[in-house]
């Protein structure tokens, strides 16, 4: 499946867990040792707590990605529309995958067809 690849380059420096927000340790749910990339069509954006959720159609298979909570995105100036305006368009998502092997991950970076990209970056000293 060429749209799915393992990437261990720039994002690897950010992996490790504690800086990602979850109501549990991220490593209990996601394989934090390596990131991966999925490209597909954005089909749905759920702006819900405790994590926003995105659905992608990847060659007819549905992938889900959660990310930081809505309150965090709001406070860095990102609204649901920043994602939802891309519904129906191509999107590339980099993230870490669920340990159970399901088509589910935590989004670390999203690149839209417009060329715009949003990426979670660890705060210095955190």
């Amino acid at each position: 499946m060429k749209q799915i690849g393992i990437i261990c380059l720039a994002l690897a420096v950010f992996l490790g867990g504690g800086w990602l927000w979850a109501h549990h340790s991220p490593s209990a749910e996601f394989d934090m040792s390596k990131s991966f990339s999925v490209s597909g069509t954005l089909t749905k954006v759920d702006w819900i707590n405790p994590h926003i959720m995105m659905l992608l159609d990847v060659n007819g298979e549905e992938w889900k990605f959660e990310s930081n909570p809505p309150a965090w995105f709001r406070r860095v100036g990102i609204a649901r529309a920043d994602f939802a305006d891309a519904i129906g368009q191509k999107i590339s998502v980099d993230g870490v995958r669920a340990r159970d092997g399901s088509k589910f991950g935590y989004m670390l970076r999203a690149k839209f067809a417009s060329g715009r990209a949003l990426e979670l970056v660890r705060e210095e000293g955190k």
Binding site: S25, A71, V76, I78, L120, E123
Partner: protein
């Protein structure tokens, strides 16, 4: 009612509220969001140009800094010896046992200081933003007693009074099923919380003391939170749907709030 009479009425009401505000420190206003958020910043790339956005955590001072007017505090509550095993179990299994992790109400004092305060002559109203919903609390300040027939709730029954420039809120009648803090901080129906609010310059300071003689060996005073004023308006919190729990492969967790 003719417009000029209405204007006169509003002016008189405004004077009354203004006179009241002068009698006590004014806590009214919108205050920063203080619930812990991810320690991440956002990198936004447009046409090859990168811009970084960092959240304003709303704390004007680090949590371990000396805060003027604060009571002495400790990091953790002290449970009676017979509850040590229970507190350890809840701490170790926090990601499965904590109601807040599953969209439950944090209650008082876990929810922290309010996002908005409306201070009126006979009552003060707190508004919050929380992933479990957006609660409000109406706190009478007219000297009445606690309700005798109220149902227990997550946010309890609150009464307010002023003590030397400090707004003291006495809270009782809690549901038993909540935690007053991450770390397995369970409580009984005897939970009694005293919140203190005061101004430190432009900032709001909040500090709470937890008493529960059935499970705690002594009252616990938490570290104060210093909250900056905010221009970020309140917004209805999106609904909360927890989906991660079934994917957890172990009990690992980390401190949140």
């Amino acid at each position: 009612m003719k417009p000029r009479y209405l204007r006169t009425l509003l002016a008189v009401a405004g004077m009354a509220v203004g006179a009241f505000a002068q009698a006590h420190p004014d806590l009214s206003g919108v205050w920063s969001f203080t619930i812990d958020l991810p320690p991440t910043k956002l990198k936004v790339e447009n046409d090859g140009k990168a811009d970084f956005k960092v959240i304003d955590r709303g704390l004007a001072a680090p949590r371990d800094a000396v805060v003027k007017g604060a009571l002495p505090f400790t990091k953790e509550p002290a449970y009676k010896p017979e509850f040590q095993a229970k507190i350890k179990y809840l701490f170790d299994h926090e990601s499965k046992e904590d109601p807040v992790f599953y969209c439950g109400k944090p209650g008082v004092p876990r929810i922290g200081p309010p996002r908005k305060i409306v201070q009126l002559p006979k009552e003060t109203i707190f508004f919050y933003e929380d992933i479990s919903g957006d609660p409000y609390r109406i706190i009478p300040t007219d000297g009445r007693a606690h309700r005798k027939n109220g149902n227990p709730t997550s946010y309890g029954d609150s009464l307010g009074r002023w003590e030397n420039g400090v707004f003291v809120v006495d809270v009782t009648n809690f549901l038993e099923d909540g935690w007053f803090g991450e770390g397995g901080y369970f409580h009984s129906d005897a939970l009694h919380v005293t919140e203190r609010f005061w101004r430190d310059g432009a900032n709001l300071v909040w500090q709470a003391t937890v008493e529960d003689p059935k499970v705690l060996s002594a009252p616990w005073t938490m570290a104060p939170k210093v909250v900056k004023p905010s221009t970020d308006p309140l917004e209805e919190s999106p609904r909360c749907i927890e989906t991660d729990s079934k994917l957890l492969v172990n009990d690992d967790h980390h401190q949140q709030r």
